[in-house]
Amino acid sequence: MKKRNISKNVKDNIITYGIVIVAYIVIQILISAGSLSSLMQGLLVPLCVYVILAVSLNLTVGILGELSLGHAGFMCVGAFTGAFFSRCMENVITIDLIRFILALIIGAVCAGVIGFLIGMPVLRLRGDYLAIVTLAFGEIIKNIVNVLYIGKDSRGFHFSMKDSISLGLETDGDVIINGAQGITGTPKDSNFTIGVILILITLFIVLNLIHSRDGRAIMSIRDNLIAAESIGINITKYKLMAFSISAALAGVAGVLYSHNLNSLMATPKNFGYNMSIMILVFVVLGGIGNIRGSIIAAVVLTLLPELLRGLSNYRMLIYAIVLIVMMLFNWSPKLIELRKRFSVKCLIGRSKEVQ
């Protein structure tokens, strides 16, 4: 019995990796055949970003069972630290790939550390309270970034929280983070291949964590806190572990995001709670705790508004309606019943009975 279970897990994981790899190969073939539109090609890296975000948030929401609404905040930390590093090192490390890998590591570590620091006080709360506090932290991160001014000149780094004039830069100075104007001129190091590799690494980390001893401890906290505590599981440790890994992965997504665009600004649109809720929507639609579902939901919901461009003025309305319909279709009890009745599985079952 035990052996069967393990092999099922392995098979399940292979399918998840397989989907990503097959999708990658297909898209590469389409690109080399020249039949992928530039819109689609432009969307590939953002798709990777959202997939990583959805998978990483699923770790907090699905596996740890805590509702976090501050995920975009961690993405923001990763994006800004990664882009800051790349801007500073642009002329020092000239090999793009090495610089980008270092930026990814720095972004992940910074976001993970912030996740750890925020997690310590925040994870004492549960449910709605935790959601509200994480929401607040996400906003705080965004707002701090918006008043941050960092410049570099021959004398070193200058830092201010007032405006870029008070940095007192020399004439050769370069304002790297310019408050609300963010970071401009980040080198475009992201590409689809790196994005897919990062997705695979993310999946590897998350799936292995889930199926490890630590993962089972984390899930036991989700399922019954008191029982888990009574058998001696260190609640704080495992909660913090899941939360900071999730934050670090969001940081990776942020670095990927910031290196895909030339200008990076912390607006309510890209790093505010709207984004956090958007990622949560991916997770909920794909199925809480279902990693593969998160990937598919993130891809579908990111593509949808762009594919609806043909409807011009109505597209955001249609997008919202499609979202409602999809949620109902996936999660309404009546519809689940209906789907079961007409599912392929059922039909196969019936035909077998007939035989």
Binding site: N146, D163, Q181, N313
Partner: protein
């Protein structure tokens, strides 16, 4: 039963992969279709029609006012040009895409337009998006002219990007020089939006230039997009510091609140603004008499009395039922600037995007355009516009030029 579950999950995955493949295949097909229609377009254009001009701006969300103004302004100009026989006999096709004022969506919109076969871009409307899109268009060597992306980063390092509006630094410097040279005031307070690129960009250059001028900045207070309804603290500080003039490098909605609140606390300094203040007289529930005496540097005023503005405003009102703002005027000018550059360079729709851009770049250095937002506009190699700023003052509920 377990076996069935396995089989089921496998078939489902297979189905999903198939769906994914089908999805990709579908998009590939449409893309291919797009390409064929594109090649058709090129063929037909040889026969005498079709420059494809794209435009990008926010037509949904909080900044929709600006995006829609650009959309309509450019559309109006293109209709006029088409009705008059097009550019060098070629008609213009127009396509506007929404970017929700989001950098990432803006790049998506740009890629969509590229798939459509765009040859020149009027856009984007907002500075942040413009920086992101300019990096892409520079890669493709696509001719781009932004009506209102005023940040200097939009054109920095991208020789294919031109601006219709002043850059933020130029506005800040021009304002500081105007106040200093005309001795409007000796003690100046500034209230600006630190979360807005436009506002903080102007403020920084204003403050830098102020050091060289005869006046002194006695208070500089910021607010953010999340906190823009109560300005009593900022006004009180300006009042306590004895400021005779309050400089407002912000948009008109917040400015109208500031004027109302200053009036209710009995503080009556001079107010000075930039082009964002254009439109303040039309704010709902705002007592326009409070704006009396407000001075602003703006390239366009809807109730200016010259013929070009009058005919533009009446045509715009007839077509869209509202008074145009400076964004609409900038976009309208942008299309006519493209027309002038095309006529000068003699490009045809059959040329490749990159060829068009190279020839247009050469033409931009030579042309001089009289538009709604400035007379004898000309461009440097860096893409910034040269035109004289107009200082306006609101007198008797009308904008009038200060001589």
């Amino acid at each position: 039963m377990k076996k069935f579950k396995k089989v089921m999950s496998l078939t489902l995955v297979a189905a999903m992969t198939m769906a994914l493949l089908a999805g990709c295949g579908g998009s590939a097909e449409t893309a291919a279709e797009g390409e064929t229609s594109e090649s058709e377009a090129v063929e037909t254009s040889v026969a005498g029609e079709g420059f494809k001009i794209g435009a990008i701006g926010p037509s949904t969300g909080g900044a929709a006012v600006y995006g829609l103004a650009v959309k309509n302004g450019a559309e109006l100009a293109i209709k006029e040009i088409n009705a008059a026989g097009g550019i060098n006999g070629y008609q213009i096709e127009y396509n506007f895409q929404d970017d929700e004022c989001d950098n990432e969506k803006s790049v998506n919109a740009y890629n969509t337009l590229k798939d459509w076969g765009m040859q020149m871009l009027v856009g984007t409307t907002t500075s942040g998006c413009c920086i992101a899109v300019a990096a892409e268009s520079a890669n493709d060597n696509m001719f781009q002219i932004t009506p209102s992306g005023s940040s200097v980063d939009c054109i920095k390092g991208n020789d294919n990007v031109y601006q219709v509006c002043f850059t933020d630094p130029n506005q800040g410097i021009a304002t500081a020089q105007y106040i200093g040279e005309n001795a409007v005031a000796s003690k100046v307070a500034v209230i600006y939006d630190s979360s807005d690129v436009y506002s903080s960009g102007i403020y920084e250059k204003f403050a830098a230039e102020a050091a060289n001028q005869s006046f002194e900045i006695v208070s500089a207070e910021a607010f953010t997009a999340d906190n823009k309804t109560d300005f009593s603290v900022q006004l009180q500080k300006a009042k306590d510091a004895g400021a005779e003039l309050v400089f407002l490098p912000i948009y008109y909605t917040e400015a109208s609140l500031i004027l109302t609140q200053a009036n209710s606390m009995g503080y009556t300094p001079k107010f000075f603004g930039c082009d964002g203040l254009d439109g303040i007289l039309n704010v709902e529930n705002f007592d326009a008499s409070l704006a009396e005496g407000v001075m602003l540097l703006t390239p366009f005023a809807a109730d200016a009395q010259d013929d070009a503005t009058k005919s533009f405003v009446s045509a715009y009102e007839a077509a869209y039922g509202e008074t145009p703002n400076q964004f609409a005027a900038d976009a309208y000018d942008a299309v006519y600037i493209i027309k002038a550059a095309v006529e000068k360079s003699g490009v045809t729709p059959a040329d490749s995007v990159s060829d068009i851009c190279d020839k247009m770049k050469a033409a931009m250095a030579e042309i001089s355009v009289d538009g709604l937002t400035g007379e004898a506009m000309s461009w440097d190699e860096d893409g910034a516009v040269n035109k004289a700023p107009k200082a306006m003052q609101i007198i008797n509920g009308n904008y009038s030029l200060i001589q």
